[in-house]
């Protein structure tokens, strides 16, 4: 008997009137856990009953404690007829099972009914006594901590990252059981809510077991989703990253050492083809999977008979280019200043990393931000999609088929990553889109090379197992350096020497799914970039439908990437972070939405402009038209540069950037790759073959496309927006926080719609949503919308649904320009450059460059020769010496800043926990004597101006709401508005009952709305999750990267912006 669960029902308030005659209610409560039920006495004739019940005790296995929720039902006693249910409260016991989380659940919970919504509140007290578990072969995993946060939770230190954990459970959907025909909608909804709650518990327990097996104690970046497959079942699946976390105790600050290892391109592993080329689709078993390529775009239409744009396997494989291998590897290792002594060691480390990672089936990490030094290099985005038919699952009640599907996709992701020379995938996520019996499974992540330190057992304890050597790549640019072999690039890309360190090569653009590393150097600000696309498709069924969809997918991915690339260039930026591409399937269309945050990475070359070219030269009117468009584009770019404060030191670029991009060599390589596929050469447009990005206007479609590019409105002044945790380039957040969810559904008219027309509607829908946000939140200016998370769906044939959850955060305009710590240094840098302009101009002498280029083009063993030469040339120029010197200062500044964190945070941490808690409570209670705790919510992993002192457990809630009086509730908008508000209220109540005052990493995973206005009915399902925390107001000015001004206090957050 490993656990005793105790519950006490204290009181109720604001109950609804259940007896019309007396205008009162005779309420009593049933408390149920597993198969045991207790009842309170009836509290007659009161809308504010006081039960003050005894402690109801349940003696249960801890396995049940993990799986089952505590179910509290409030009923109205009726002497003559059946008792009427008022509503229910489900309480997840899990946070009580971990001694580091909450110890008691106590508070007012909204009483929820799936038909009537919230009907009053009930005050409940819940405790758990766990006994020592003697059974070694236990099925439970109590004590494993779960975090939705996709970063190492603040106030923990990561001792080891074990890696990917996943699990999937299947059950019959109660809504599709035969019994559903005879039971009430309420009973059916409750059965579903309960089932999903049970399945979530089971899933979490199973994942916990896997983590324990790995030797870990926590799951970070826990991402749980459910798929309502319909007839074939209800799937709840989850992925996460198993870790061993240490609670940061007094005095020990988080490990701030930065070791960035310049790891070389993988030498031994043969470059697998990123996709099994030419494979014919086999329906229901292996439908064409499509691989979204890394940064520079690549189409691999495996399903079609057309050959891939360049044959991936042969040119990529080691055998065919073995001669190059030696050439490229030797110089590379020798390139770093650490030179020889570091070489062998690094190889060793790399091998260790690789073996450590290869032992794992999937070297995937759901994290999106990492401890400094964890991420060594980033290759680019890898993604895979596959179309499946749900009615072909042989054994729908068992998870095997779905497991196999996901396994397949993950294998593909893994091989894509390998093709990019990477051994790991970070920022990994999975999602599905279901329409009738067709299901699109998608997975995406960022191929990366990780520091082995976190992967190996025991090495972190001392932190000194590896000798320190001068690191050739500074943290501000190291992650941009290409992980792959430049002579055998998996895709055509334009490489240059890094603008940060000038020693290693970087691509011209970088796409990733992760948050921008906090140590990365950026120029100016970032912004939200979205690519939106609609594609009509014929209505069809079964295999025909699946083929149609899988044929469309590659084109959609291609277009989305092209749009992203164009928009990126228009904003004069060179990297995307937090890229999420969602493709949703409907009966007669596919919707694609790609969102990311664009930035100008200082280490990457400046993006060329966008050039328009007409296909029919000579036509004067056309020519003129092109000129106007070109002018508009140039104006937009100029405007954007100003808007996002992108003023890169252009002259340095020419000095450093020029030696490498040798057009001829690149084209040579490229030709060898693409010889076989002439008809697809058009696709290469997006790869930046030319310095300037060329758009060809050959038909009206293209004109439309260009127009749509230019229609994206920039946010009004005072606003910024991004879909990553925080906005690159803004550091001084103040405490104003407003989390919101917004949903819009657009009904397409019956008119014959074209793809273009649809695109316009969809784009307008997204743009208008953003405009609405800016308008609504105008009182918070200056402010940034962070973590803008768009989800699109096609709930019915003519409906497009867009749901957005994001947070608006205020910042201090005064210090908007620079990171406080960097301020002086950057200034110095700029001044230095200004002074040096003249000498650099001399250096940029065209003849010098051309000779360098010539030498390269001639194909001599490049790096060995050129890099010392380049170095010598550069060193000759005062400019370079000066900027290396500045670089050094910058590095030092980093360490200084880190050092100060250490001392300050250790001091702060020495304040005992209870005090912190009482502080937080006091701050809540201080406003006007309100009895309701203020609970802040944010999709980010932190709240600006506060410090998280305790994680209380994850919140993972699933609700169904249904109505048969849609009109009376204000139509669908009124219905959904109420429901979302109710969901927020229930989340807040649970957090408050756990003793918390905030939810971080909040997200709305699902918002599925079905309506039938003719029948006056609607139903909606919402799934939300997040981490309940206690946070306290940061009183000291701490120079952390979310450094904040001293004038902010939490109480100001209550001013309409909690």
């Amino acid at each position: 008997m490993p656990g005793k669960l105790k519950a006490k029902i204290v009181a109720g308030r604001h109950l609804p009137v259940m007896d019309r005659a007396s205008d009162l209610t005779d309420a009593f409560v049933e408390v149920k856990f597993g198969n045991t039920t207790f009842k309170t006495d009836v509290c007659p004739k009161s809308l504010n009953p006081q039960w003050n019940s005894e402690w109801f005790k349940f003696e249960v296995d801890d396995e049940d404690l993990q799986d089952e929720p505590l179910q509290i039902t409030v009923l109205d006693h009726d002497t003559y007829s059946a008792n009427d249910a008022i509503g229910k409260v489900y309480i997840d016991i899990d946070p009580l099972l971990c001694n580091e989380a909450a110890s008691v659940i106590s508070g007012w919970f909204p009483i929820y009914d799936t038909i009537h919504g919230i009907r009053g509140e009930i005050n409940v007290l819940v405790k758990v006594e766990l006994f020592n578990d003697l059974n070694r072969f236990r099925q439970s995993s109590c004590g494993v901590k779960f975090f939705c946060t996709t970063a190492i939770p603040r106030c923990y230190r990561v001792a080891m990252v074990h890696g990917f954990v996943e699990e999937l459970v299947v059950n019959e959907d109660p809504e599709y059981q035969w019994i559903d025909r005879i039971r009430t909608p309420r009973a059916s909804n409750e059965a579903r809510q309960r089932l999903i709650s049970l399945m979530s518990g089971e899933l979490q327990r199973k994942i916990g077991l896997k983590v324990l097996e790995m030797g870990g104690n926590a799951v970070v970046g826990y991402l749980q989703c459910f798929d309502l497959e319909g007839e074939s079942g209800l799937v709840v699946r989850a992925i996460g990253t198993g870790c061993t976390l240490d609670k940061v105790s007094f005095g020990s600050a988080p490990n701030t050492n930065t070791h960035v290892h310049p790891s070389t391109a993988p030498a031994s592993n043969a470059c697998n083809s990123p996709s099994k080329d030419g494979k014919e689709p086999v329906f229901a078993e292996d439908l064409p999977s499509f691989s979204g390529p890394p940064t520079p775009f690549r189409v691999l239409p495996t399903s079609s008979s057309s050959p891939p744009p360049f044959s991936p396997s042969k040119p990529c494989s080691r055998q065919s280019s073995s001669s190059d291998t030696d050439l490229s590897l030797t110089p590379k290792t020798g390139m770093g200043s650490a030179g020889k002594e570091a070489g062998p060691l690094k190889t060793l480390l790399r091998q260790q990393t690789q073996t450590a990672l290869e032992q794992r089936e999937f070297p995937f990490f759901t994290l999106t931000s990492f401890p400094p030094g964890f991420l060594v290099h980033v290759g680019g985005v890898v993604s895979a999609r596959s179309v499946k038919l749900l009615d072909r699952i042989h054994n729908p009640d068992e998870p095997e088929t779905r497991d196999a599907w996901w396994e397949e996709i993950r294998q593909e992701i893994k091989s894509h990553a390998k093709a990019l020379g990477c051994h790991a995938v970070v920022g990994y996520s999975e999602r599905t889109s279901i329409c009738e019996e067709v299901c699109i499974l998608s997975a995406s992540g960022t191929a990366a090379i990780l520091n082995p330190r976190y992967m190996r057992e025991g090495c972190l304890d001392t932190g000194n197992t590896e000798p320190r050597f001068d690191e050739p790549s500074p943290p501000s640019c190291g992650f941009c350096h290409i992980p792959y072999d430049e002579l055998n690039m998996p895709f055509p890309a334009q490489l240059t020497y890094c603008y940060g360190c000038r020693r290693q090569k970087v691509p011209d653009v970088l796409f990733t799914t992760i948050d921008m590393p906090s140590e990365a150097a950026v120029t100016g600000k970032g912004c939200l970039i979205q690519a939106r696309l609609c594609r009509l498709k014929k209505k069809a069924q079964g295999e025909v439908n699946a083929t149609a969809i899988s044929n469309l997918l590659p084109f959609m991915e291609y277009e989305l990437h092209t749009q992203l690339m164009n928009k990126l260039k228009l904003r004069s930026m060179n990297a995307l972070f937090g890229l999420h591409i969602q493709i949703s399937v409907g009966e007669n269309m596919l919707l694609g939405l790609a969102s990311a945050t664009g930035v100008y990475l200082t280490a990457l070359p400046a993006p060329g402009g966008v050039q328009i070219a007409g296909k029919t030269p000579g036509d004067m009117s056309n020519e003129h038209h092109i000129l106007t468009i070109q002018k508009r584009i140039n104006d937009t770019i100029a405007k954007n540069k100003e808007l996002y404060q992108i003023n890169p030191p252009e002259l340095t670029e020419e000095v450093v950037g020029s030696p490498i991009p040798e057009p001829r060599q690149r084209s040579r390589l490229f030709r060898s790759h693409s010889e076989s596929s002439d008809e697809l050469s058009e696709l290469d447009l997006s790869h930046g073959k030319k310095d300037a990005f060329v758009l060809e206007i050959d038909d009206t479609d293209a004109v439309e496309d260009i127009h749509s590019l230019l229609t994206d409105a920039s946010p009004p002044s005072g606003f910024y927006s991004c879909n990553t945790e925080i906005m690159p380039g803004i550091f001084n957040w103040t405490s104003g926080v407003q989390m919101f969810t917004s949903v819009r559904v657009f009904r397409l008219s019956n008119a014959n719609l074209t793809n273009q027309g649809l695109n316009k509607i969809f784009t307008d829908l997204c743009e208008n949503l953003l405009k609405s946000f800016y308008f609504k939140l105008r009182s918070m200016i200056p402010c940034c919308l962070c973590h803008l998370n768009f989800t699109v769906a096609v709930p019915e044939e003519e409906l497009i649904q867009v749901a957005v959850t994001a947070v608006a955060m205020t910042f201090d305009k005064e210090q908007i320009l620079e990171k406080p710590g960097d301020k002086i240094i950057t200034k110095g840098c700029i001044e230095g450059e200004e002074q040096l302009q003249f000498s650099m101009e001399l250096c940029a002498d065209s003849s010098g460059i051309s000779t360098q280029q010539l030498s390269k083009i001639s194909g001599v063993p490049e790096s060995t020769n050129v890099s010392p030469r380049a170095a010598s040339v550069d060193y000759g120029s005062f400019a370079d010496r000066c900027s290396t010197w500045l670089e050094l200062i910058r590095l030092k500044a980093h360490t200084i800043r880190r050092g100060s964190i250490k001392t300050i945070s250790s001091l702060e941490r020495s304040s005992p926990l209870p005090e912190g808690r009482s502080r937080s409570l006091r701050s809540n209670r201080s406003f006007g004597g309100s009895s309701v705790t203020v609970v802040k919510m944010t999709p980010l992993s932190f709240l600006p101006g506060t410090r998280i002192i305790k994680y209380l457990g994850i919140i993972n809630m699933f609700f169904i709401r249904e109505t048969t009086s849609l009109r009376e509730e204000g139509g669908v908008s009124g219905f959904l508005h109420t429901f979302i508000a109710e969901v927020f209220a229930m989340v807040r109540a649970h957090v408050a009952a756990l003793g918390g005052n905030a939810v971080v990493s909040y997200s709305m995973k699902e918002c599925m709305l079905m309506e039938n206005p003719n029948k006056n009915q609607a139903q909606c399902l919402i799934n939300v999750s997040g981490d309940a925390v206690i946070c306290v107001i940061e009183t000291d000015q701490e120079p952390i990267h979310t450094a904040v001004g001293p004038r902010q206090t939490c109480s100001s957050g209550a001013d309409g912006t909690t």
């Binding site: 609804p16 407003q738 989390m739 919101f740 009895s931 309701v932 908008s973 508005h977 912006t1057």
Partner: protein, 381 residues
């Protein structure tokens, strides 16, 4: 949720225009929910004033909010509808403001809650002037469309204000303790607004006539002030504050005692004595002396008769009209200034104390204290 249904008691008006607007944009659904409920005070006022969504959008556009924020009309429409929906959802909570503080559905910072409540219970002086002293019954409510037409306040707003009066009346009617204090505690209103409501409740309970043409020059604030004087001095609560209904009804014993004042006009000697005392004091101090001297007996009879008749409910209702007819109008026709009035009433009141045979000093003071301040307040154009 019953509450929701109740909150949308008048769906016809609101949701009607709601859907017209939606059709135009082909947006089937459009919601925005903040963790902290976002409420625009300007839109709240438009909602309270009973404007439709479309009217509100028009007003906002004219207000120039669009130029400020680079937004379009669609955005404004969407925002306005969202806010209107939020207010409708909040409305049932505003009906019992104490619930607003401990409900869980909306996270609203306390100072904002206070603003919401205060504004919800605020009323238009033109409207309240129309219903002041009327019975807060269904009949009166039915006539609100006339009131709306006459005052220019929208019917919706009239109904809200009327319902507020009625709601406060119902809650406070049966409570012990001080009227103003009860209103403040149960409806969390500001001191000023609580006092106004106390006056409204008091007038409704005693059914004071305020609508006659002769009274039209008086504002609600005049009446509210007088009401406050009556509550503070003439009710049971003014002497003993643990009695039920104490602040709502006039002190019956006191009204009986007022009959004793009749001696001031019935006894000829006393009347003459009183007159000479007042005239001696006033002589040379005012230009209107002659008129005062000439009218003294008339005016004194007027005031004392009002006092003596107050035992009749009918005469209580006519209290203000009597004051105007018997005192204010004669003085005004004699062109007394406000200072003259002040001077006269002060001496009139004080001189009674010197009268040897007049024994009802306490009642006289309690009566004249209120009459004095009421007349001071009411004596204007």
């Amino acid at each position: 949720m019953q509450g929701v249904n109740r909150a949308r008691g008048e769906p016809g008006l609101e949701s009607g225009c709601h859907y017209d607007a939606l059709d135009k944009m082909a947006v089937e659904l459009d919601v925005f929910v903040g963790n902290t409920t976002i409420m625009d005070e300007e839109v709240y006022q438009l909602w309270l004033d009973g404007h439709t969504v479309n009217d509100a959008v028009k007003v906002r556009m004219e207000g120039g909010v669009l130029e400020e924020c680079e937004a379009s009309a669609d955005v404004l429409m969407s925002d306005t509808m969202d806010q209107y929906r939020t207010f409708q959802m909040c409305e049932r909570l505003l009906h019992s403001p104490t619930k607003l503080a401990n409900q869980l559905l909306f996270q609203i910072p306390p100072h904002r809650q206070a603003i919401l409540i205060e504004r919800y219970y605020a009323f238009d002086d033109v409207f309240v002037r129309e219903v002041l002293g009327k019975k807060l019954s269904k009949g009166t409510k039915k006539d609100l469309d006339d009131v709306s037409a006459k005052t220019g306040v929208t019917l919706k707003s009239c109904r809200r204000q009327f319902d507020n009066f009625k709601r406060v009346f119902k809650v406070v009617e049966e409570l012990k303790g001080r009227l103003v204090e009860n209103i403040r505690q149960h409806f969390l209103l500001s001191d000023k607004l609580s006092r106004d409501y106390a006056a409204i409740v008091f007038f409704a309970n005693n059914r004071f006539e305020t609508g006659k043409r002769k009274l039209m020059f008086l504002t609600f604030q005049d009446f509210a002030f007088c009401g406050g004087q009556l509550i503070n001095n003439w009710t049971v609560g003014a002497v003993d504050n643990m009695v039920e209904d104490m602040d709502v009804d006039l002190d019956k014993e006191f009204l009986q005692e007022l009959k004793e004042l009749k001696i001031l006009i019935a006894d000829k000697d006393l009347l003459d004595q009183h007159k000479s005392l007042v005239c001696t004091a006033l002589r040379g101090k005012t230009k209107a002396f002659n008129e005062m001297e000439a009218n003294f007996k008339n005016l004194s009879r007027g005031l004392v008769n009002i006092a003596a008749k107050l035992t009749n409910t009918k005469d209580v209702r006519d209290f203000f009209i009597d004051l105007v007819e018997k005192f204010i109008e004669p003085c005004r026709s004699d062109r007394w200034t406000a200072a003259d009035m002040r001077l006269y009433l002060t001496h009139y009141t004080n001189s009674a104390h010197i009268l040897d045979t007049f024994k009802h000093q306490l009642v006289w003071d309690r009566y004249m204290g209120v009459i004095k301040s009421c007349i001071f307040k009411m004596y204007h154009d």
